[in-house]
Amino acid sequence: MELSSGLLTLPGRTFLHFLVYLGQLTALMHELLIAVRSGVWRLRLVAQQIVSIGYGSQAVVIVTGAFTGAVFTFQSYAKFKDFGFETTVGAVVSVALCRELGPVLAGLMVAGRVGAAMAADIGTMKVTEQVDALRVMGVHPVDFLVLPRFLAMMISMPFLVAESISFGLFASYLVTSFGYDMPSTWYLTHMLDHTNMEDLSIGMIKGFVFGMLITLISCHQGLSAENGAVGVGLGTTRAVVISSLVLLIVNFFLSILLNYVFPIGTV
């Protein structure tokens, strides 16, 4: 009886938890806006975070972008050749990297690397009462812990996405030029003819939005951590899982929206 009633109420409880979670994220966003408006941005901390987030994430983002570009080219070239379209590989890979693969894969890698670190850092501070110590000293935790990370992520993510796209295209170029002996002029001409600023803008905008989402979700998990090391571990896992899922879902809707603003294939 209890089991059946528990199952019946499960969707309702899940939905309520979801609403509560959304409410908490909204409240954090609200505090963040207050912090932005206060004008106390702690630029030294922002710079430190840019080094940690932006500079520190370059290797993962570059490797991910490069190998995705390479393997995408490798697979699509073989298929396109069947139809005699192999010269269009550069254009297809370029648009796909700019609009989808670059920002999404960079976002997922940053969610794994930076999101986890944010949740773990802030979570550890929370369970060791360092966050309370900040409050006691009259420093709002959002001002000190979240805002610098948020600003650093907003600045770093578009650059990381750009790097991911650039190295993906470079790897794609190497695969077609040296792996398939395609004349580099064909590759470059098609790629440059069919890739425009709108495609690049979509990648940058997505990177910017993903950066904000990853920071918001990860910092929220850190600030909500309870129950010592177990709670920090749980928060860190949740930060990566939720950030990654939200990123993929938001990407879908963002793609639809941005395709209205910057329609594909108008060149």
């Binding site: 110590a133 409050r135 006691v136």
Partner: protein, 264 residues
């Protein structure tokens, strides 16, 4: 509905103007557990109150109400005449300049040295003069005998040194009141005595109002002006250390003499 304006009602309910902290009928529960059940307490400027009682009876929770880290379900908390639980987090800054807290684990920032930890409140409160910061940090570290360890990171410090760093951080911005959460826990008798002497020194030198959560009865009799015992969410005893010794309440006697009957 409009947010109530922070009250500046005089804290004193007993006609005295020297009251610094007042809790009126404070209730707090976490889930189904009622932690505080109608706490009433006043503390005068410069007074040292030791808060004793069995573990898990809400001593730290009560202290965190004073500094606004926890809001009560019911009741009022006043600090220097300001109704604290009506203030929003961002409105708490002036109160938190007057009242600071030493956490049980000291809550030092791991990525900062002792010196940087102690200077942190000054920098956050807008002091920019490097010479002034350096002078005050040196003075605070000298007060707690940590001048030689200023460049160490918290991980390189012993438990007692961490607590002394926490005290230095608490006093550096000239707080009027310090809340100590188990300052002696985990320390050897000598380390514990060092902390006690330090609390006494702060009290005498700066006339700091203090609330000390402790289980160390030797400390209680050494440093307290008054003692409050919290038991099952209520104040079971409130009086001077002498009155505590002479108290006939069996539960109080069991606690101060370390008899286990109290848990039954």
């Amino acid at each position: 509905m409009a947010e109530p304006t922070p009250s500046t009602t005089p804290a004193s309910g007993n006609g005295s103007t020297n009251v610094f902290i007042e809790l009126r009928d404070v209730y707090k529960r976490f889930g189904s557990q009622e932690v505080l059940r109608g706490i009433n307490l006043t503390l005068q400027h410069g007074e040292t109150l030791c808060l004793i009682g069995p573990s898990g009876e809400g001593k730290t929770v009560m202290m965190k109400h004073i500094i606004g880290l926890i809001k009560p379900e019911r009741g009022e908390v006043y600090v220097d005449g300001v109704h604290v639980n009506r203030l929003k987090e961002r409105e708490m800054a002036p109160i938190r300049k007057k009242v600071s807290m030493l956490f049980q684990g000291a809550a030092l920032f791991d990525n900062l040295t002792v010196e940087q930890n102690v200077a942190f409140p000054l920098l956050e409160h807008g002091v920019r003069d490097r010479a002034e910061i350096d002078r005050r940090v040196r003075a605070a570290l000298k007060d707690v005998d940590l001048d030689e360890h200023r460049n160490k990171y918290p991980t390189a410090l012993s438990g007692g040194m961490r607590k002394r760093t926490g005290i230095a951080r608490a006093i550096i911005d000239h707080s009027e009141c310090i809340l100590y959460d188990e300052p002696n826990s985990g320390l050897d008798p000598i380390g514990s005595d060092v902390i006690d002497q330090m609390i006494l020194r702060m009290q005498r030198r700066y006339n700091i109002t203090s609330i000390i959560v402790t289980h160390d009865m030797r400390s209680v009799f050494k440093i307290a002006n008054r003692v409050a015992m919290l038991y099952r969410g209520e104040i079971r005893f409130l009086g001077t250390p002498t009155e505590l010794r002479e108290c006939t309440d069996q539960i109080v006697q069991d606690f101060i003499n370390g008899r286990s009957d109290i848990t039954g």
